[in-house]
């Protein structure tokens, strides 16, 4: 099933129970977009050219965007800035028109980020405890708490692993857990940095399903991976990051 077919499937009434409440009508009415990077400039050393040079990017509701580029082009830096992990030298990043500095809690409630690699997990915690912990610090409301964890376990097929410690599961299983954490709180904007790392075909299909559900509820996706990577996915927009700026791919 392709991404678009999945989206069509998810727009059916039967799929409604799977979708989660999203944005803020007020934000949508204001004409703001889910995510906007405006004139972002970042340099790591003053004597070197910027890794991001007045970069502009907006994500529209219900769209999937891909950004590629060679190794070291600045994709991860762009995602980290978009996520609010690090700050740009110049420019601003907005989630529905609001920056992380203006309302940090709201920014991080609406946006979720999967960093590249296999870090960000507690090796000695079980899969379920990891999810419960993340749901707590994501401040998922009580009414959705149990369902959010169960949905995450189900969506990424972690049922058999829920009582296993993270240091005793495979890299691909860890990646599924990291993805489950990314989608757990029902974010509106999802940033994925090389999400296929260690995933097998089945894991990739589960990710596609989660993305389809995100898009079906008018969420926005930003996916970064190196140019040339084989992706069995369709994107609404494709960009290449080159010399600090985005060009149409």
């Amino acid at each position: 099933m392709t991404l678009r077919e999945l989206e069509a499937d998810l727009s059916s009434p039967a799929a409604e129970h799977r979708t989660q409440p999203v944005a803020s009508p007020a934000s949508r009415a204001s004409g703001a977009v889910p995510l906007a990077l405006r004139e972002i400039t970042k340099r790591w050393r003053k004597d070197q050219p910027p890794v991001l040079d007045e970069l502009e990017l907006t994500l529209e509701p219900g769209t999937a965007t891909w950004v590629g580029g060679r190794n070291g082009a600045g994709k991860t830096t762009m995602l980290r800035i978009a996520a609010g992990l690090i700050e740009p030298e110049q420019g601003r990043t907005e989630v529905w028109g609001v920056t992380a500095r203006e309302n940090r809690t709201r920014y991080h409630t609406l946006l979720s980020f999967l960093p590249a690699g296999d870090r960000g997990l507690y090796a000695r915690l079980t899969v379920r405890r990891q999810l419960v912990f993340w749901a707590r610090i994501a401040m998922v409301p009580k009414a959705r708490f149990e369902a959010a964890i169960e949905d995450a376990i189900q969506a990424f097929e972690l049922r058999e692993l829920e009582d296993c410690r993270v240091d005793r599961i495979s890299m691909g299983q860890r990646q599924r857990l990291r993805l489950a954490m990314t989608f757990l709180a029902g974010p509106e904007i999802v940033l994925l940095d090389e999400p296929l790392t260690s995933l097998d075909g089945e894991g990739a299909a589960l990710l596609q399903q989660a993305i389809s559900e995100l898009l079906a509820r008018d969420g926005a996706l930003l996916w970064c991976s190196p140019s040339g990577e084989q992706l069995d996915m369709s994107f609404d927009t494709r960009w290449e990051l080159d010399s600090g700026r985005l060009v149409r791919a």
Binding site: E87, R119, F133
Partner: protein
């Protein structure tokens, strides 16, 4: 559900996480309990060996030093936050805290709770071992009063933990001088021996910081030793110390995180 309740649940989740991780190392408590036993054994025989001016008997010095040792274990636990932060940085889990609605500042504060609760347990083990193995005589009628005083001491230690956590975030190392501070506080705080044995200038330093008088109060409540000064001024000094330093240390922690985000070093480890 209000944000306050969600934040409270997040604080508890951090404590539960630290408990689960601690419990996953099954031999850790046994190992630390044995360290307490060895330490008490050493000081029990030292107390038999030496005659210190101001102590009526060997037992009274042993009682004095057991409370000091309990406080040292409290200090070590409180300052273990630096190693915890270092582990979070290396594991990449600190990034997740920064990106969570709960936030990095509250997460770091929450990370101090389990070590503080654990330090209570270690202090209790120290006192119990002293009683059971070496005949330490506790002043049971006032022991319950030592609990709120101990809590106050922990709150007063917390700013140090947060300041060291801030330093760890900046320089990315766990060993940021905590052992030096513990050594200094144990000397000028009179944890091993009375501060009256120190040179005059060190006695002045001892009087300026609040831990000496707090230790005196705890000794008075736990083993019935005499007090150098009245209880109320000692506790007021400790409260004032915490009231000034706690908000300051939280502000410094927030600034350290913010600086890391601005310079991009928050992702380094």
């Amino acid at each position: 559900m209000s944000d306050a309740i969600l934040a409270g649940n997040a604080f508890l989740a951090v404590v539960r996480r630290d408990l689960h991780i601690y419990m996953s190392y099954r031999s850790r408590l046994v190992s630390q309990a044995l360290t307490v036993v060895f330490s008490l054994t050493l000081f029990y025989y030292v107390s038999r060996l030496v005659n210190v001016r101001g102590f009526g008997s060997h037992s009274s010095y042993f009682g004095f030093v057991v409370v000091g040792l309990a406080l040292i274990s409290v200090m070590y636990s409180c300052f273990s936050i630096t190693e915890l932060i270092r582990q979070e940085l290396v594991a990449g889990t600190f990034d997740r805290m920064v990106l969570s609605p709960f936030g990095a500042v509250r997460s770091v504060i929450a990370m101090t709770l389990f070590p503080m609760a654990y330090s209570f347990l270690l202090a209790a083990i120290t006192l119990a071992t002293g009683c059971l193995l070496y005949g330490l005589s506790l002043h049971w009628s006032t022991v319950p009063l030592s609990i709120p005083v101990m809590l106050l001491v922990l709150v007063a230690f917390l700013p140090f933990g947060l300041l060291f956590a801030s330093l760890t975030l900046v320089i990315k190392q766990g060993n940021v001088g905590t052992s030096w501070l513990i050594a200094i506080l144990s000397i000028i705080g009179g944890l091993y021996f009375p501060v009256t044995l120190l040179p005059h200038w060190m006695q002045t330093a001892s009087e300026l910081q609040p831990f000496t008088s707090a230790t005196d109060v705890l000794r008075h409540l736990l083993v019935g030793s005499s007090l150098g000064e009245a209880v109320s001024p000692a506790l007021l000094k400790l409260t004032g110390f915490a009231a000034v330093l706690l908000p300051l240390s939280i502000a410094i922690l927030a600034a350290a995180i913010r600086t890391g985000q601005r310079r991009g070093t928050i992702i380094e480890y």
